[in-house]
Assembly symmetry: none
Homo-oligomer: 418 residues x 2
């Protein structure tokens, strides 16, 4: 393997958009002043990228699985195992992992706040009180807090199934009771048994949390107590070769968002993060630039994930999206200026999916991409944007193909055939 | 089937390249003066072609399997069977075929020259001495010389496996001993048995070759004797419908290189070759042009393979590559001038993969392609090149698709559906 060449893949979550009236019919990316992205487009080969294939709308998890080389049509095991990896739980085969929220419920189990006031403090203590809870029945319980109100539940034991429903009724469904977990399909004994275990856990967690000192303190301060756990996204991990193993790359990921972090960990990547990275619009992009340069010292392939664009899109805030894109561009400029070996460092610009502001939701629109570097076949594209990049030399490829093309430039792929 | 229309597919091995500094940032193809290729681009539809898919780097064998309509993800049986077909051995099901080199070893079995001084003369006699060697154990041995120091070994019998390692330590590994062949995975009895047979063959071949008159003569002339056989690329042929059978085409292939020849024979194509075709930079392109016209009399689909571009690329000789491309262009001009029915003859320009000179190795870069003919939807592309063709009407397709598109123009494809 060529060890001198390195690559950065900058993933701007939900970057792609559609023409917006208040931006005079341009997209946020077309509106933003992006001198650094444009200079990469001018020194690169451009194109469109579908996460999976044209017309298929994906979530952040599926979009990133594809960008990390997985085939989500074959391998999609639900969010639970990804989040478990993200919080550092090393899953064993047959473990069932679930995403959880700390929530606030009333005495009848009706949900008052699905996020317990977006609780930030004390969740480690709360999680410790639930971890290793003895439910009987030879099932071990692992419970660990994630960011803010989020947590992960792992069931370890025999004859478990991930084919169970959510107890969390979902966003916007406050004032509904916590749902009883059930087997997704009838007649699967293991699923029924697993559902019963999760229901028992939820019941016991309410007892444990009700009198917990962290919650007493919150009630005193008129904050909503984190007095219940609600679950969703049950899944079972599939053991498979990670990206780092497949291509013998030293991978690094600059990331704060837990799903992407989980996928990066599963992919065998080292994580570069800091407390000032919030996976939101207020994240510390200077720190991201610094960590990117740091990661490039140890790694030959560094993925940088930035969440803010998706947040602004879901909030239908086109001007906020424009402003954040300009900040990311400045960050890219900082990274480009600090590269220790710019001649041998390729930079890929991409996104996990489009999130048009007006839709406030992901769409199937392809995203514009660039690969820049010293020996790429530069095309005529002069701007990084949804309508300039389709004229570029990459034509239209998918996320796996984008990744492999970038890895081929650093000599990390292997030859199929003799 | 329309019997009047015919097509030529010109495969320029390793043609695609990247910008090269000493060529002022152009590729060899962009640098070369190619009036005939450009006239085909002007009268044709252009695009980019990936051998398999974007980002996947292939060998000459896989690239050609794809150009001959196979799906190498499903069907890749190693190089042995391809080479066996190339030397005219008609494989039976369950035969194991291996590529061999005549090599020079010292008395301890240490390799002094993996190619026995690129021996050219006497290999037929040496091969005859090894063919039909009796190893016992109900296994029949077929051994046949290929070009120069190359040869093919076929084991025919029951309970054989191709899951065995190489005795050839590989290029650049002179001064190492001939390796003992082993089962690739433990616990496969047939593989262990096959490995033992190959080891016995290698041992006996040294005894037979040591005192062979051809080698006595070589030693007298201070040439390295071909006193050992080393093996690699064991494979078992998969019996499947050939391209000629699938589409009822009369296929012809103008070729000297043994791998491509083998794939063409497996594809049911007639071979057109001559002693002056060397599969190297000194090949006789006038003869290739003549053979192409000859083949078009008998065949409605003629593949012309030219190796020189790949040779110059592996040698990192951009100027040599430019010069050879110009020779190929002149050859194309001769063929175009001699066509008996130019109005009904389509010409496709393509490559099996890119080989950037600077890398001296295949890359995953797509290759530029053209299909020209009287009724194709001509696009605006005016030059045949890596950066002009992406703007053409074919967009980005793979080798199977390129082949089928060309076959569709001559009416050889069948309709899927009613």
């Amino acid at each position: 393997m060529d060890t001198t060449r390195k690559a950065i893949m900058l993933v701007m979550d939900g970057l792609g958009d559609r023409p917006i009236k208040e931006l005079s019919g341009r997209t946020p990316l077309e509106t933003a002043k992006t001198p650094y992205f444009d200079s990469l487009a001018r020194r690169g080969v451009c194109g469109l990228m579908d996460p999976l294939a044209p017309g298929i709308r994906v979530g952040t998890d599926v979009g990133h699985l594809a960008l990390f080389g997985y085939n989500p049509f074959r391998v999609y095991w639900g969010r639970g195992p990804i989040e478990a990896a993200g919080v550092g739980i090393d899953l064993e085969p047959r473990d069932v992992a679930l995403r959880c929220n700390f929530a606030t419920v009333d005495e009848n189990g009706v949900i008052l706040d699905r996020r317990a006031g977006r609780i930030r403090h004390g969740t480690t203590l709360l999680a410790d009180a639930l971890n290793d809870l003895d439910l009987g029945g030879n099932v071990k319980i692992l419970f660990k807090q994630a960011t803010e109100h989020r947590a992960v539940l792992v069931l370890r034991g025999k004859e478990l199934s991930a084919e169970i429903t959510n107890s969390d009724p979902g966003a916007g469904r406050e004032r509904e009771p916590v749902r009883t977990v059930q087997a997704r399909r009838s007649g699967i004994a293991m699923a029924g048994r697993t559902a019963a275990i999760v229901n028992r856990f939820i019941e016991m967690s309410r007892e444990v949390l009700a009198e917990h000192p962290v919650n007493r303190e919150r009630v005193k301060k008129s904050l909503p107590p984190a007095n219940a756990v609600i679950t969703r996204g049950a899944g079972m991990a599939v053991r498979m070769r990670s990206l780092a193993e497949r291509f013998h790359i030293d991978g690094g990921c600059v990331v704060a968002e837990s799903t992407v972090k989980g996928i990066a960990i599963m992919s065998g990547f080292r994580i570069y993060s800091a407390a000032s990275l919030t996976a939101n619009l207020d994240t510390d992009l200077d720190e991201k630039a610094r960590l990117t340069i740091e990661a490039l010292r140890d790694c030959n392939f560094v993925v940088v994930h930035i969440k803010g664009t998706d947040i602004a899109s879901h909030d239908n805030d086109p001007r906020g999206k424009v402003a954040f894109i300009e900040k990311m561009d400045a960050m890219a400029g900082k990274v480009m200026g600090a590269l220790e070996d710019p001649e041998h460092t390729y930079i890929g610009l991409t996104a996990d999916h489009s999130t048009p502001c007006a839709a406030r939701e992901h769409s199937a629109d392809p995203v514009p991409v660039v690969i820049s570097g010293d020996d790429v076949l530069v095309d005529d594209v002069e701007r990084y944007g949804e309508r300039s990049c389709p004229k570029g030399g990459l034509s239209r490829i998918n996320a796996n193909e984008f990744l492999l093309t970038l890895l081929d430039y650093i000599g990390a792929t292997y030859r199929f055939g003799a």
